[in-house]
């Protein structure tokens, strides 16, 4: 069926709207040179985008949604030609199943005011998976934009024994086809030249047509509907027939286009469906079947099978990697390697950064006279922000691994292996890696949830991910365990392991509970492609890591800074001149007793005085007062007000608990972390209540650890959840529910333990 050619699709270009997005409008100064890149997931679209734009892409979000918007300038264009390429999220069809796909569809239908009309659409098609890729490609061609097909992965197709005649394919599709191997930069120059030429010369719009032979009656219905659509949108740029087909055959199309279609159209669609049903036509599947019929014929006509290699390279790899036994061995091995690397390799740069932060703080401290400003900059900003930023190497490494897993194709296998486990609590296999990553740091984990299609499942994963014990909790556990089991390695290990297990169990239970109640929904359907394995491209992986890390710093940066300043204020004010005076007098008298050169012992006495002074000040500060104010609430958990100070201050990052406790208890800091932990643990053990019983009993310490396992004491996580959910509602909810959980379970631990006669 060839619908009417006179579709009036040459409407005026829409001007860029006033939508608010992370990308400034100036990025698309000239809508005439705006090129959109689209295609199936795993078609090598991102690789092509990187190859075309180099390393100058801007990454942001579409207005109001957390869908990544990537834009870059086409590289290697002649002077004066400025072409912007927009990389749309990977899409299987124009009937969206996820937010990503919906955005892609809306851009192609020009429904987003912030995105101008494309001068050209480039559809990336995986040559080694031609049929399924052509499904989407033909849908896009039907829209009537000037369109190119970038036939990528020609090398893989050839290895698999499929030779494709690109000229024949171009004839069949009615648009230019460019054979490519984007990963090896083959065919890029031709494509680039053609893009420039097309944008400059204005490629003719594609002849409107549909790639499916519909039954007679069906075709007429589409014609009628297309006529009504033309009437209600006279400035249209996409083919009315293509739109009519989607509106009619996709149940969710009207739902997902709220406020877009008139009641007239909606009624017409409902009536048409009724008529088709009466005629025995399944309007849901008829067009899909007709399209695949056309594509199969097309594919057979343009492909010559050399018969080589029935079993592909990926098939052979998968025989081991998804094997019942060896698959699990490989999986556990990869995960173990990942964590081992993160904890060993990241340790070096983290130590350097720690020293750099200290050095920088000292330098700034020396430049500015002592006083509030010096204290704010050194103790508030540099040390506070530094405490968070030292985790950056770990975060970067995690992003690197996640990028590697994605780029090689292993990520889908991990979801395949773990799906059974996750579906038990109502989640998707894709939730596994984000949750696992959260053992190192919840931030990359939460940012990695973007691959989860269903918004509810993504949200549940975000809500429970921080329950996994991250590396910032490790120093807290280490200190508390050292204070109760100083010489019992076995008990220490069991306790540590129990804390990790507690986080896992609670996370799974909460995920299950959320799916049953608040975010009700069945276990999402799993229709997931296992893409062929490929060699990861350094550029793609590094870029992924860099983009993500940058986003984290931008997102969390301001919030972290703000919280650090607040925490500094709480720990510094109100000032108590009498404390400073008292210690000044003591120091002066001590210094007077020194000779020309103070002995080591005298120096130690002096620094001990200084430590006592800062401890005294902290105890008298707002933070100290808050700790005391908090005491009635945390006393049932076995905590005193000093631990309250620790809890408040660790909101910047949990490991700050250790340094705060060392100030509270007047323990000198030391470069040797292990020695410092030991010394502090010793001091904790020696703390006595007024009645002479120890403050840090085994039960209190365990209760405190339980609290740290469950409470969301991490400003960076809160900031990232705010950005990833686009509202304050969810991070606040998460903070409260985790806080309640922490309190209740610490209460049960402490009071239950006492009832059992422990502690």
């Amino acid at each position: 069926m060839e619908p009417n050619n006179n579709t009036g699709i040459q409407g005026a270009n829409k001007m860029p709207g006033t939508g608010t997005s992370d990308i400034p409008q100036s990025a698309v100064r000239n809508p005439q040179s705006f090129v959109v890149l689209t295609g199936n997931p795993n078609s090598g679209k991102t690789t092509l985008f990187n190859a075309l734009t180099g390393l100058r892409a801007r990454v942001g979000n579409y207005a109001g949604v957390t869908v990544e918007r990537k834009e870059g300038k086409l590289r290697g264009t002649p002077e004066g030609t400025d072409i912007t390429i927009l990389d749309l999220p990977g899409t299987y069809s124009l009937s969206p199943q996820s937010l990503d796909e919906q955005v892609a569809r809306d851009v192609l239908f020009q429904r987003l005011p912030e995105v101008p009309a494309p001068a050209l659409v480039v559809v990336v098609v995986d040559a080694s998976n031609l049929e399924r890729n052509l499904y989407f490609a033909t849908q896009v061609i039907e829209l009537g934009h000037p369109t190119f097909v970038a036939l990528n992965m020609m090398d893989v197709a050839e290895q698999n024994g499929h030779l494709i005649d690109t000229d024949d394919l171009a004839k069949a599709l009615g648009v230019p086809v460019f054979p490519l191997v984007a990963s090896a930069s083959q065919g890029l120059d031709e494509l680039r030249r053609a893009i420039v030429q097309s944008v400059k010369g204005g490629t003719k719009r594609v002849l409107p047509r549909l790639f499916c032979e519909l039954p007679e009656g069906f075709g007429r219905e589409i014609d009628t509907l297309a006529q009504s659509l033309k009437k209600s949108f006279n400035q249209r740029q996409t083919s009315a027939h293509a739109e009519a087909l989607l509106v009619l055959c996709d149940e969710k199309f009207l739902l997902g286009s709220a406020g877009y279609y008139s009641d007239e159209i909606k009624n017409a669609v409902a009536e048409t469906r009724k008529r088709l049903e009466a005629a025995g036509v399944d309007w849901r599947s008829a067009s899909i079947e007709a399209r695949y019929a056309r594509i199969s014929a097309m594919q057979q006509a343009v492909t010559t099978d050399s018969g080589a290699g029935q079993e592909t390279f990926s098939d052979r790899v998968d025989r081991i990697v998804t094997h019942k036994f060896w698959g699990m061995v490989v999986f556990i091995g990869i995960m173990a390697l990942m964590f081992l690397t993160i904890f060993t390799v990241a340790k070096w740069p983290m130590d350097w950064m720690q020293s750099a932060v200290t050095w920088f703080g000292d330098k700034v401290g020396a430049m500015i006279p002592p006083g509030d400003l010096q204290s704010l900059l050194v103790k508030g900003v540099i040390q506070g922000v530094g405490a968070v930023v030292v985790f950056l190497p770990q975060i970067c490494l995690l992003f690197l691994f996640i990028g590697l897993l994605e780029d090689t194709g292993y990520m889908a296998r991990a979801a395949f292996l773990m799906d059974r486990l996750m579906s038990k609590v109502g989640l998707h296999g894709k939730s596994f890696i984000p949750m696992l990553s959260s053992f190192a740091c919840a931030i990359p984990g939460i940012m990695a949830t973007r691959t989860i299609e269903t918004p509810k499942d993504r949200l549940v994963t975000i809500l429970v991910a921080p329950l996994m014990s991250c590396s910032a909790r490790l120093p807290v556990y280490a200190l508390l365990i050292a204070s109760v089991f100083p010489h019992r390695a076995v008990m220490a290990s069991i306790t540590m392991l129990s804390m990790y297990l507690l986080g896992i169990v609670v996370a799974l239970l909460m995920a299950w509970l959320f799916k049953k109640t608040l975010l009700k929904g069945g276990t999402p359907m799993l229709v997931m492609e296992l893409p062929p394995y490929k060699r990861p491209l350094v550029k793609t992986v590094m870029r992924h890591m860099w983009d993500r890390s940058k986003l984290f710093l931008q997102r969390a940066g301001t919030v972290i800074l703000g919280i650090c300043i607040i925490l500094w204020f709480l720990a510094t004010y109100p000032k108590h001149p009498e404390i400073s005076q008292k210690f000044a007098t003591e120091k002066a008298s001590l210094e007077k007793s020194f000779g020309e050169k103070p002995t080591e012992e005298q120096k130690a006495q002096l620094s001990s005085l200084e430590i006592q002074e800062s401890g005294e000040k902290l105890r008298q500060s707002f933070a100290g007062k808050m700790g005391r104010g908090l005491e009635p609430f945390i006393a049932p958990l076995g905590f005193d007000w000093k631990m309250g100070i620790g809890i408040i201050s660790s909101f910047a990052a949990r490991e700050v608990f250790v340094s705060t406790m060392s100030t509270v208890y007047n323990v000198a800091d030391s470069d040797d972390k292990e020695a410092h932990t030991k010394a502090l643990a010793q001091v904790l053990r020696e703390q006595k209540k007024p009645d002479g019983t120890p403050v840090y009993t085994t039960l209190t310490s365990i209760s405190l650890m339980v609290f740290y396992v469950l409470a969301l004491q991490c400003v960076s996580t809160v900031a990232v959840v705010r950005r990833e959910t686009n509202s304050w509602k969810w991070p606040v909810f998460q903070w409260v529910y985790m806080g309640v959980l922490a309190w209740v379970l610490a209460f049960v631990t402490y009071q239950g333990g006492r009832l059992l006669g422990l502690g």
Binding site: N129, S285, F325, F416, L417, R420, M525, L526, V527, M528
Partner: protein, 79 residues
Amino acid sequence: MPGPVQPLSSLPLGAAATITEIKVPPEHRGRLLEMGLLTGTTVQLVRFAPMGDPVEIKVRGYNLTLRRNEAELIMVQPK
């Protein structure tokens, strides 16, 4: 000699078959169809995941995973 019609999930590993009917409810069927699983399409059961679910199949030259309960609703006739 074509075998009896049976659910996709009960095919022997490695066996190829033709889809005869998709019993998945219409509102969930869309994506399956769009991924190329249609009546008359040839599919091959590749393997089950180590924990018994999901199932991996080959269709139109690529590999796809489905949960067992969806695969049970896809009726096939072995070739």
